[in-house]
Symmetry: C2
């Protein structure tokens, strides 16, 4: 469990995410590069979810979703999950079809994807104008977790990513057409 006021640090560097959702026994997961932190305390985030998506239907019905932060080891999976709609599937879903393992969230119904490096449980703050006009969702982060191998407070209370020695766990940052950058060299500004 990450200190909530530092949950923004999971998204601050601009990773591409997977949005998972669940309502009434149905569940889905999609890729979303268009996301950003919106506030520190209580933590809020923004994410763009197109009207056509099955995810949109499930998150509007449930009022919640999970952000899963995937890593280098999952690039092909992220691209696949972003390439088709769960609505097309008959009698199955993207989780079963791709043999994905998940674990339960604490405050929302959406499943959390095993193998990702961070997870944020999000409850939608209803803003119908933004949702209808821009496909823009604002949500409050009610819980956040991370893989401690690559994101921890190292005992000083300040959470940071530390990918050294874990190249397969680096976050991924989509440009277009399945082309990503991995989070690269760490740089500390000298005047801080």
């Amino acid at each position: 469990m990450i200190k909530l006021t530092q949950a923004y640090r999971l998204l601050n560097h601009g990773p591409t995410i997977l949005v998972s959702s669940s309502f009434n026994g149905k569940q889905n997961i999609m890729a979303a590069a268009w996301n950003m932190p919106l506030d520190f305390d209580p933590p809020k985030i923004c994410v763009v979810i197109d009207k056509k998506t099955y995810t949109r239907e499930l998150i509007e019905a449930s009022g919640s979703f999970a952000i899963n932060v995937p890593c280098v080891a999952q690039v092909d999976l992220v691209t696949k999950l972003g390439s088709y709609s769960g609505r097309e599937l008959q009698g199955t879903d993207k989780f079963a079809e791709n043999q994905l393992q998940t674990f339960a969230a604490k405050h929302i119904a959406a499943p959390l994807l095993t193998g990702c490096v961070a997870w944020l449980e999000c409850k939608i703050i209803p803003e119908p104008h933004n949702q209808n006009t821009y496909d823009l969702f604002i949500a409050e982060v009610v819980a956040a977790y991370a893989d401690e191998r690559v994101f921890s407070n190292k005992g000083n209370g300040q959470y940071h990513w530390h990918f050294e020695g874990h190249d397969a766990l680096r976050t991924i940052h989509h440009v277009a057409g399945g082309a990503f950058f991995a989070a690269g060299k760490s740089i500390q500004a000298q005047n801080t």
Copy 2:
């Protein structure tokens, strides 16, 4: 000049940006990690600009701003520009004080910072509720440019970042406290 419908690719991978602004002979520039694309055509973006900032005053007065995408060579400058307010300065501004070179935008008054690797001219789409409640600005991108050494269409019509051989020009992605990641290894998903 970047094809406008591909301007989102300048921000899609989550870089930290500099927001420059100008109104009535005053100008300013600040750092902003909280930004994302919002639409393809016409291209729109979101950025969070705190009420306290001098930038906020100038962009609300002018209705426009520029996004400058800085690079590894500018990490210390970005951190410095993000650490104090231009409002505190008497008889000068952040550009003069830091000896920054700029060039003119075509459609807006905000200056564009030399040494960055991309620039987007933005006109605010007024959304008072978002601005007042969330410090959230939505804007249309009316022109976009990039340093062709690291972002080009390579003749096939598809613009991409290509940082190989130009490590100092890689985009930077802030976590917190002056800690950044450079855009790292390029990864192409195999199923695209």
